[in-house]
């Protein structure tokens, strides 16, 4: 009887040891790391660098000096007699590293604006004009009192125009 009891004790102890080893065995793990680094090595920087009056005809005058930010240029002129006009040169520079192209020119005017005032854009052409890195576009905008238009002065006497130049990567 004692032999059986001792054997049972030893067997039981060994089983406990084996079970314990199995539990420890199931916790094996490994952690692997993947590291990625991405750098955008180019610069997309297009902007208005200046606006300058380059021509005046008749009695046209600047009501306030033109001004600009990187993305907008504004001017405000007065036209006293038919055929008066002022022309501005707006420079757009590409100081980035990516070549650009003028994709679209959009002109919009305010509602109920004077039909006697004309705007003309010269120097660039949508889908044609390129603006390479380091390059410059010169856009001429002329505002004029159309002398051939019979204005009875009962219509609107002012006209605000917004011209948008959309450049894309070429």
């Amino acid at each position: 009887m004692k032999r059986i009891e001792i054997k049972n004790v030893i067997i039981t102890v060994l089983m406990v040891i084996i079970v314990g080893m199995s539990i420890g065995y199931s916790l094996l793990t490994t952690q692997l790391l993947i590291k990625g680094n991405v750098q955008i090595a180019t610069k997309w920087i297009l902007g208005i660098s200046s606006i300058e009056k380059v021509d005046t005809k008749g009695e046209a005058y600047e009501k306030s000096p033109p001004n600009h930010t990187l993305n907008t240029a504004t001017f405000d002129v007065g036209l006293k007699t038919p055929s008066d006009s002022i022309t501005y040169n707006i420079k757009i520079k590409n100081t980035g590293t990516i070549n650009a192209k003028l994709n679209k020119i959009t002109v919009s005017t305010d509602y109920d604006s004077s039909p006697a005032i004309d705007y003309k854009i010269e120097g660039v052409e949508e889908n044609v004009t390129e603006l390479p890195s380091g390059g410059e576009n010169n856009i001429m905008v002329t505002v004029k009192w159309n002398e051939s238009y019979d204005n009875n002065f009962e219509e609107a006497l002012s006209k605000t125009v917004t011209i948008a130049f959309d450049y894309i990567q070429s």
């Binding site: 001792i6 793990t29 790391l33 590291k35 990625g36 680094n37 090595a41 997309w44 990516i98």
Partner: protein
């Protein structure tokens, strides 16, 4: 005289038997067991290769150790991307399973602009890696193609952690 000899002999035999019985009652039993772990746990990165470069350039050759792989690329325009295949091999005798994939920072996987990362080829809690088998993890880095302006972050690093465990 003979009777005493018999008695002595009998007593001696009794003593001997009693000794034998006593010895039997106190016999020591010994069981010796030896256990050896003859299996191995060996899951590691064995290779990283450039899969695709579209508009992108490699800043430096990809490298790896048994526990990590690294790559570095440069983009020049929206839509540029690079893909790398990272091989994870089980050289041990114990089967493994991909328990968890952790990507840091978290927002790189669903970026709507700028730099985006995507991991494919493996699925956590599903992909297994049996002994002598290989998992191929594909990591794609890209400049989101719909961007029309420069992103605020022009450099972005990511760390992808793969946790394998025995199953």
């Amino acid at each position: 005289m003979d009777k005493r000899n018999y008695l002595i002999a009998g007593l001696l035999v009794a003593v001997i038997f009693m000794g034998i019985g006593f010895a039997a009652l106190t016999a020591q039993l010994t069981i010796t067991g030896t256990a050896t772990i003859d299996s191995t746990w060996d899951v590691k990165i064995t290779e990283i290769t450039q899969k695709t470069l579209s508009g992108a350039t490699q800043d430096k050759e990809p490298t790896h150790t048994t526990n990590s792989a690294t790559f570095s690329v440069k983009f020049t325009k929206p839509g540029d991307y690079a893909e790398y295949d990272i091989k994870v091999t089980n050289n041990g005798t114990l089967n493994a399973k991909l328990k968890n994939i952790t990507i840091s920072p978290e927002d790189v996987t669903n970026a709507q602009s700028g730099i985006k990362y995507t991991v494919s080829g493996v699925t956590e809690e599903t992909t297994t890696l049996d002994s002598n088998q290989t998992n191929t993890v594909t990591v794609k880095a890209e400049w989101v193609g719909t961007d029309t302006s420069m992103p605020e972050e022009t450099t972005k690093q990511v760390t992808i952690t793969l946790d394998y465990e025995q199953y």
